[in-house]
Symmetry: C2
Subunit: 333 residues, 2 copies
């Protein structure tokens, strides 16, 4: 196992220390239980937006904490759900009196632990709503998931709902907006290589030198098919077609096109993929009004990509454009 | 070779098409010869700042074109210098009458071709200055380099000099500032794995499963030593010590600390490294007044890191903080 770490047990804690040292003006790291929180939290009168999940998907979620996006993020161990007490303490810490939205990726452990935290927080008088993201069109059920997995639309939901909360919208409105983003977002991913969870010390699966996995999950969960490697343009078609057909996206739709790297894929390849994805979108009559290209929801050092389409209305575009100041996404301020 | 590409010959052109499609408001891509240029170039009366070099180091340099940073970037083939005509045409296209600064990484081909382009541009009446970046403390001479290699300080020089040009400073001042950034920046890198140039189809060197290369160049050039893998903290010491001793950086110095990923290194590992690098800097009495953590000057999918320290004065800090709007670096606007 070749990794720039000290010990498998220490990776998450030490990375959080690094984040705290690198971004003191934006975030604070709280310990035992662990969470990343906006430096100025709680913001009085503002709806707070929280997410969390296993580590190993950086910058998601801790890198999205800051003004205009998340109020807090709860990192579990690598590929392991955060505990209910992490979510509960983070919820209490960010509550500014206007309630808290939990954005949850659809994995059994996450859903269960976030629900428990929400119940405990409600018992303490905090208004909590939850939205489960399940945008992955690849498979119906999967390892650790009943129903579809929650993947890259989560990043878009966090940005858009964070902006809505920052603009002073009420909890019910931010929650409805989050459901709408989830309803209008679809993703599919693929991998060229596996990744190695530090504790495991060996790759979680194996792909032959000429193979790829289409429909991979962000923890290396099996996808739709393991096939011979194809040229990039063909791979993009294999991801875009099921995504477009699923909603379905129709001619005239305004969309955000998000080409995401899985962690070990160089940016030059992501732009090769973006070129074809944009072309296919336009060929279907979609108007690509916004885009995002980069490694934002990753699977450690996995080489691969996911492609997300989000159907947007003018409100969502304007919330996407609103200022955001986080370690990983920053513009407009 | 597992890559998300169509054909080795097409990678650079298709990635440029992808960039053009993704960032129409910021950049334009010009063809034959190829360069990336600010959408609003030439900016009348402003000094223009240009860089370039082999592709495979993305987002450097094309991702740094935009307001407050580069006016143009000339991408060569992967790990291959751009040609003089690329540099010449880009120079002519960005010249707004106040002259053009060429920021050149110290590789023999780059230096030679940029010099030729500068001479040709001067012959056409354009005021051109050049600064060669040579910040890599690892080795004196190397494959393709006489003297020290130019590496990650280039990113910092492009940001700081781009801001100075945007602020209306004159060519002589922007040039002197670029020399100052180079004089005050030091870098050393390492790799856990090699990378594969698409045309070659196989890794440019081999490292055993328990080996790493300390002092690696951004094209996989040999470094100082090939040794057994060590824990992350020890690796950071092996990079930070020669960097600190070289300038030397002294107690009380204000520094920017840049922990860069080589392309295949996940962000969670970069934060583990940043934690220790920040600690070592503080132990030496350095004040880390600014930082940058991410993969900004890469070597395709190489797993590894480089650490850069830049001694800053108040002017450099203020130029660092100035607004920048490029595909890869964006803040303050």
């Amino acid at each position: 196992m070749k990794k720039l770490i000290n010990a498998p047990d220490a990776v998450v804690d030490e990375a959080l220390d690094g984040m705290a040292a690198a971004h003191p003006g934006l975030i604070k790291v709280v310990r035992n239980p662990n969470y990343v929180i906006r430096a100025d939290a709680p913001v009085r009168g503002k709806v707070a937006v929280i997410s969390g999940g296993g580590s190993g998907h950086e910058p998601m979620h801790g890198g999205f904490v800051g003004r205009g996006m998340l109020d807090a993020a709860c990192p579990g161990a690598v590929f392991t759900s955060p505990t209910p007490d992490q979510m509960l303490e983070a919820t209490k810490a960010v509550d500014g009196g206007a309630g808290v939205l939990h954005i949850v990726k659809n994995y059994t452990g996450d859903v269960m632990n976030f629900e428990m935290a929400a119940d405990l927080a409600k018992a303490e008088g905090i208004d909590v709503e939850s939205v489960v993201i399940n945008d992955d069109v690849a498979v119906k059920d999967s390892t650790w998931t009943a129903g579809r997995r929650g993947v890259a639309t989560t990043v878009l939901a966090e940005k858009i709902c964070g902006a809505a909360a920052e603009a002073g919208r009420k909890l019910a409105d931010v929650t409805a907006l989050c459901r709408k983003v989830n309803d209008n977002g679809r993703t599919m991913g693929m991998a060229l290589t596996a990744c190695t969870v530090p504790h495991a010390g060996k790759p979680s699966f194996t792909l032959a030198e000429d193979e790829m996995e289409i429909g991979i999950g962000i923890h290396g969960e099996p996808g739709r098919q393991r096939v011979k490697i194809e040229p990039a343009d063909r791979i993009v078609e294999m991801l875009m077609t099921p995504v477009i057909e699923d909603l379905p996206f129709k001619a005239g739709d305004d969309v955000l096109l998000f080409v995401n790297g899985m962690g070990g894929t160089p940016l030059v390849e992501l732009y090769v993929l973006y070129r074809k994805a944009h072309e296919i979108a336009e060929k279907h009559g979609l108007r690509v009004v916004r885009n995002l290209v980069g490694s934002y929801i990753t699977s450690l050092e996995m080489a691969g990509t996911s492609i997300t389409l989000l159907k947007m209305d003018a409100d969502m575009v304007s919330l996407w454009d609103a200022p955001v100041v986080t370690p990983a996404l920053r513009w407009g301020a």
